[in-house]
Symmetry: D2
Amino acid sequence: MPIRKPIIGVMGPGKTELHTEPVDKHVELATELGKQIASHGWLLLTGGRNLGVMDAACRGAKSAGGTTIGILPGPDALDSSDAVDIPIITGMGSARNNVNALSSTVLIAVGMGPGTAAEVALALKARKPVVLLATQPEAEKFFTSLDASLVHVASDVEGAIVHVKALLAAQTEPAT
Amino acid sequence: MPIRKPIIGVMGPGKTELHTEPVDKHVELATELGKQIASHGWLLLTGGRNLGVMDAACRGAKSAGGTTIGILPGPDALDSSDAVDIPIITGMGSARNNVNALSSTVLIAVGMGPGTAAEVALALKARKPVVLLATQPEAEKFFTSLDASLVHVASDVEGAIVHVKALLAAQTEPAT
Amino acid sequence: MPIRKPIIGVMGPGKTELHTEPVDKHVELATELGKQIASHGWLLLTGGRNLGVMDAACRGAKSAGGTTIGILPGPDALDSSDAVDIPIITGMGSARNNVNALSSTVLIAVGMGPGTAAEVALALKARKPVVLLATQPEAEKFFTSLDASLVHVASDVEGAIVHVKALLAAQTEPAT
Amino acid sequence: MPIRKPIIGVMGPGKTELHTEPVDKHVELATELGKQIASHGWLLLTGGRNLGVMDAACRGAKSAGGTTIGILPGPDALDSSDAVDIPIITGMGSARNNVNALSSTVLIAVGMGPGTAAEVALALKARKPVVLLATQPEAEKFFTSLDASLVHVASDVEGAIVHVKALLAAQTEPAT
C-alpha cells in the first residue's frame, strides 16, 4: 500500500445569500476546519464551488498552506472557488455528491441542507465514517438512527479534529 | 407539452436477508403501492434490483398490469428484478440514486436506509415532492426540517396515493 | 430470465441547425429506422433531446405505435423530444452517453459526431454490438480497428435491421 | 482568475497482460510523457488504475517529483496505481471517462482502445484540445474528421509536449 495523505471531505450548504446568523457561523467553522485540516497535513476535498462552506473551508486550508481539491458539479470550472487548487470537473450535477462521499477518507458535514444530507447518506451507504459538526439535532438523531457506528457528533472544530484523528488511526491499525 | 404518464418513484431498502418484521412490513406496503400505482395508470420507477422494496413494488405493479422501469446501479442487468420491464443500466453505483430522484415526478420512500435517505435528499435538492411512507419518526422530523414544503408523510398506502394525486394535480394546474 | 422486449439504441448527431444535406439524410434514415424498430416490437432508446437523429428516431417509432425511452443529459425534461414516452433524467451531461451504451441491447449509430463517437466507443468497451449506418468511411475503419467482432456496417435501414435481427437471435441462442 | 497548475490528462489502454511489443512501446512513451509533464510543473491526471498507460504515466511523473491525480472507475481505491497521489473515487465505471475529459486542460492519448476512444470523443464534445501520440492512422483520420481544429498528432513525446505548450499558451492569451 502506498503512503498517501488522507483526504478529508468537508461538506455543507453552498447558499450564503441570506447571510443569516447560522450560515455565518457555518462559514466561520468551515474556515477554521480547513485551517486545521491543512495544519495536520491532510488534503481537503469539497464540492468546490465559490459559495458557503465549500469556499470557506478551501480558503481556510489555503491560509495554512494546504492543498485543496474541488469536485465541481458543472461542466466547467467557472463557478469554482478561487481557493481550489485542483478542480475536478464532473459535469454530473448532484450525482457528483457520490464522488465526494467515496473519495473522502472521513467526511465532515458543517451545517446541513439537502445536498449535504445526500453526501452524508451516500457516505454511510459506502460505509465511510462521518462527523456532524454544528448540524441540527434532527440531523444527528436521523443519521444516528441509520448507522450509529459510523456517525460521530462534534460541537466545535477541535472536537471534529479529535474524531478525524481517531478514525484515521483506526484505519491504519492492523485488523485483529 | 406532450401528454406523458407520470413516473412515480418508489424507493426503499434493498436488503431483506434479515426477514425482520419491519422489513416484511415494507415489502408488503411496497407490493400494494406498486399495485395502486399501476391501477392509476402511472409508470413505476425503482432502483430495479431483485431485493426488498424495489422488487416488491415492481411485482405489485406487474400484478396490476403496469409498466415498470428499473434504474440499475451495476454494469449489467444480472441483478435486476424479474418484474422490471425496462432496465436502465447505469453502471454508476449509488450515483444512480440521483437519476431516480430526477426522473420521478413524485418520489415515495417506503422504509428508510442510507440509499433511500440519499434518494430523498437528492429529490429535495432538485425541488421534487417526496412522500414518506412507514419511515421512522427521526426521518420524518429530519426531512421536514430540510424542506417542509416538499415533504409529505403517509401512514398507509391509501394515504400515500392521496398525496400523489394531489401533487400531480397541482403540477398540471396553471400557475396563477 | 424474464422475457423482455429488446432495447435498441439509436444514436446520432443532435445538431440540425445547419440543415445541410447530410444531416437531412440522417434525419430521414433515423425516422425510418425508428418506424422499423417499433414495427418489430422492440423498444427504442435515444439520447432523448428534441434535435436531429434522437428526435427523428422517436417520431418514427411513435408513428408506428412504438414505445420510446429518452436518456436526457440535462437536469429536467425541458429539452426532451415530444416523441419520448419515458424521459429518464440523468443530469449528468455527456456521462449519460455511457447509460445509452449500457442500456442498449444493440446500438445503432446514424451519422457521426463527437457524442455519437463516444457512445459507440463506450458500447465497444462494454462489449455491446454496434451497427454503423451512414457513417463516414473514417468511422467504419476506426471502429473496426478497435474491435472488428462487434462492429457491423449497414448502408441502409433494411441492412441495419438485418444486423439487429441476427444479433438478437445470437443472444438468445444457448451457448455451447 | 486564480493561478492554477494546468492539468494534463494522459489516457491510454489499461491492458498490458499481453505484453506485446506495441503495448510495451506505449508504456515506455507514457513513462517518458509523465516525466516531462512533471518537469514542466503541470499536474498529471489519468484513469488511475495500476495498469498500462495510466500506471506508467503516473510512475514517470513521480520519478520527476510531480503530482498525480487518478480518476478511478471503481467504488474504492483497491486497483489504484501506487503512483497516484490523489485518488478520486467515482464508482461510476466508464462514465468516469467524461470526468477525465472535462478535468483535463489538454488530453493526450497514448495508444488507443475503446476506453481511450471514448475519452478523446468526450473531450472533443466538450471542445477540449486533444493530442494523439502513437495512435493508429485510422484513429488520426477519424478524430480529425470529427474536429480538425482540436486534434493534434504527435509521433514522439517531444512533439506532444510542444503541442501542449502551444495549447496552454493559447489559452492564457487574451482573446482579441
